[in-house]
Subunit: 117 residues, 3 copies
């Protein structure tokens, strides 16, 4: 059984960003198998969706509706000195594993990153 493990590092400019990681998945050369992609920050998520700018905009608006960032004082977690409770709450909005999926190497994988501060 062949496997490949990689740890990837990303930096985004704003507080929130979307990174297309499809090519990194394809790079493995695996055509069929089990692919596990973990967002290692608990304020980030990995999901699969269309590579369409309007949709990413909609996603951002939707997350803000589900868990508004401001006022930051609405979240007890922000009393710790952080101000990212909203991102902690929505971190689970994303799948982590795909298996035996013949199409996944050509899918659009997106890393939604949220700065820790």
């Amino acid at each position: 059984m062949k496997s490949l493990t990689e740890q990837l590092w990303f930096e985004v400019k704003g507080r929130r960003g979307f990174v297309n990681i499809t090519e990194l998945i394809q790079k493995s050369g695996v055509r069929e198998g089990l692919c596990l992609v973990n967002a290692m920050h608990i304020t980030a998520a990995v999901f699969i969706n269309d590579n369409e700018s309007g949709l990413l905009h909609d996603y951002e608006v939707w997350l803000e509706k589900l868990a508004p960032h401001a006022p930051t004082s609405q979240y007890q977690h922000n009393r710790t000195g952080e101000d990212n409770a909203d991102a902690h709450l929505t971190t689970d909005h994303g799948p982590r594993s795909r298996g035996r999926d013949h199409q996944w190497p050509t899918r659009f994988w997106i890393l939604r990153a949220n700065l820790l501060r």
Copy 2:
């Protein structure tokens, strides 16, 4: 290590539908192991829950509350000519993998399908 891979095709009548795929999971004959069920459309989801019609109704009402379908103009994604941005946003509401779960062959697996148009 034994394994079984199957690609399943479904058609639902309306824009949204729920399909009980439990029997298809049971058909594998696997009693313990890793079961990965991917919804191959990014507007669909797989989840496990009670086989109870009231709950499926509640689920539908709840998804519509979280991401209303209309007015379709509220989503930039719909400027592409599609009108299913709401289904794209909620596609991640569903688990994809279950492992070493002695009970899963008898669980109620549900495929929530959303038409692409």
Copy 3:
């Protein structure tokens, strides 16, 4: 390939509770591999997040906002005699698998439990 399977039982006092199961994950002694944690009740979820009391409070408030418990009559599922439709709806808010994650043995795994009644 080494593996460990365990079935864990928990009891919580209130209708909803959070249980830190990190130590149970660490107990496996596995430092790298595939870790699958299933909440075997469809009204419970497993997720990874900070071990911070304010955040758990925020999580509870947020779930109540997304799917309010009362009035229980708003959910058709509750006509079955149960009153936990809200917990059924939010059960998918949690990842189930983590793989090849060098950090996971030290992460804070949380079981969100909801009583069936």
